[in-house]
């Protein structure tokens, strides 16, 4: 009977109140966005938008299809991509009349060495996000792959490449 109950999928999983979920996962979502955008201020804006959108669509969250944190990261990624798209359009529009101001050099996170901070900035957003998901947030390969919308092996390959690039950059910065 117990084996049968275990084998049988749960009909309805319990969904916690959104306030609890937001409190538990705000830090993780914010960290994910900081690493993804390499910009703490932008990450704050996107985090606020993410939780606003998540609050509106909380009813659609299905606990059987993934954890709360995975779902919130997916929402955050969607918001970030929207931002990147609009930013790309804006830059394309403005390229002909002006150049972008020099980006502010603000550390991605406190406690990181300068080499690591610079090396992280040298990665692409896609590489940074796989690093933050797997290393910082410690999501499993399956969860990270779900957030990224790719397969597990592709996720592992992307992580390996990102780490290699990170090592190389750090070595070059250390030599300098």
């Amino acid at each position: 009977m117990n084996a049968l109950a275990q084998a049988w999928p749960r009909r309805a999983a319990v969904r916690r109140p959104f306030a609890e979920v937001a409190r538990d996962h705000l830090d993780d979502v914010y960290r994910y966005l900081v690493f993804l955008t390499a910009d703490p201020l932008l990450a704050e804006d996107l985090a606020a938008e993410t939780f606003e959108k998540a609050f509106r669509s909380w009813k659609r969250f299905d606990p059987r299809r993934g954890g709360e944190r995975t779902w919130l990261c997916q929402v955050a990624r969607s918001r970030a991509l929207d931002h990147f798209r609009s930013e790309a359009r804006r830059r394309k529009r403005e390229t002909q009349i002006a150049t972008d101001p020099l980006p502010t050099v603000e550390p991605i996170a406190e406690g990181l060495s300068t080499e690591l901070d610079l090396a992280l900035r040298a990665l692409t957003a896609a590489e940074r996000e796989v690093v933050v998901l797997r290393i910082v947030l410690e999501l499993s390969a399956a969860e990270a792959a779900r957030v990224l919308g790719i397969g597990r092996s592709a996720c592992s390959m992307r992580l390996a490449r990102a780490l290699q690039k990170l090592e190389e950059r750090m070595e070059s910065y250390a030599v300098v």
Partner: protein, 378 residues
Amino acid sequence: MQSSDLMPGRLEELIGGALAETESEARIQGLARELRSSSLPPSAALRSKVESLATAPRRPRFGRHVRLVVVVAAVGAFVAAVATVDTTSNGGGIAGNTVRAGGRATGESFTSRGVPPAISKDLSAGRVRSSDPSLQVFGPSGRAQDVDMWITLRVKDADQLSESSQEAMKITRELGGVVGSSNVATEGTRGKAELRLKIPTGRVDDALFRLSDLGTVTGQRVATVDLQAPLDRALARVEHLQSAIRIAKARLASGLLSSQAELQVRIRLEHLRSQLRAVTRTRAALAREASMAELTLTLGTPTGAVPETSEGGITGAAHKAVDVLRGAGSVVVFLGLVLSPLLVILLVVWIALRARGRRIERELLDESRPGAASPQRR
């Protein structure tokens, strides 16, 4: 050895905290430790904003009025659907009776009893008695009439055709009528039957009512010939002849006639009696004709009728289920043939859009954007 040279399984182990065996693995673990130890607390403003958002009352997506309109529309649609289904399942309700009447029924007596309107009109005029007490005839003016009727019924299949034909003959006999002729022919699921029935005039009302229930009335016709005038003439002639016979008998009984005159009277008397017999026969024939209505009942199956199983129980249910599935399968095949090209196009478009979205997403994320300007800083 670079980290990309690590097997994915080994990389997973290192991330999970396995002991590093090489310098490269140690570097990877060092990186992971440093990244995890980084402090990234969100600002107090963001925290309070998210907390206030999470505790705010949820605003309904649609207003009260919109929801009310949707509920009313849904209830209305449900009632309409139920009414439609009910009408269809009852064979059309009032509309169904109209169809049964050949689509031209307007009279209440017909729609409520299933009798064709033209016939019902004659019936509603009442039945009257002619000079013969045994004769009951139609006619709005109370005149004896020769009534011929033709009714065409549609039945489902050959089986019902035979059953309905048998039932029509049984009804005729029960009402005191006779079956003049019957011709039933079936071939496969199709068939046609023609019955010539003679129904007592006084029972025509009942006959029409019961025969109409044997199928769907698709046509009807009534022809009447006035018999009152010939009947009246025959009666007058009979009375005249009887009077003449009485006079002749009186002259013979008087004994005043010469032998030659007596012979002439006897000859005339015989002639009168002969005429009386002939007129009486004619009058009886007219009375018989008016007392029985001739009804030609034609039953037929629709063209291309599909045989319907009449078995009961599990076999019947199974056959019905197979028929339903066959019908549903035909619909599915038809829809599949019609919609499959459209579905293929939609699938291709969807795949193309998805691939394009992925490519754009990859391009966006592959760009390194350290310190990209945020909206607030712009």
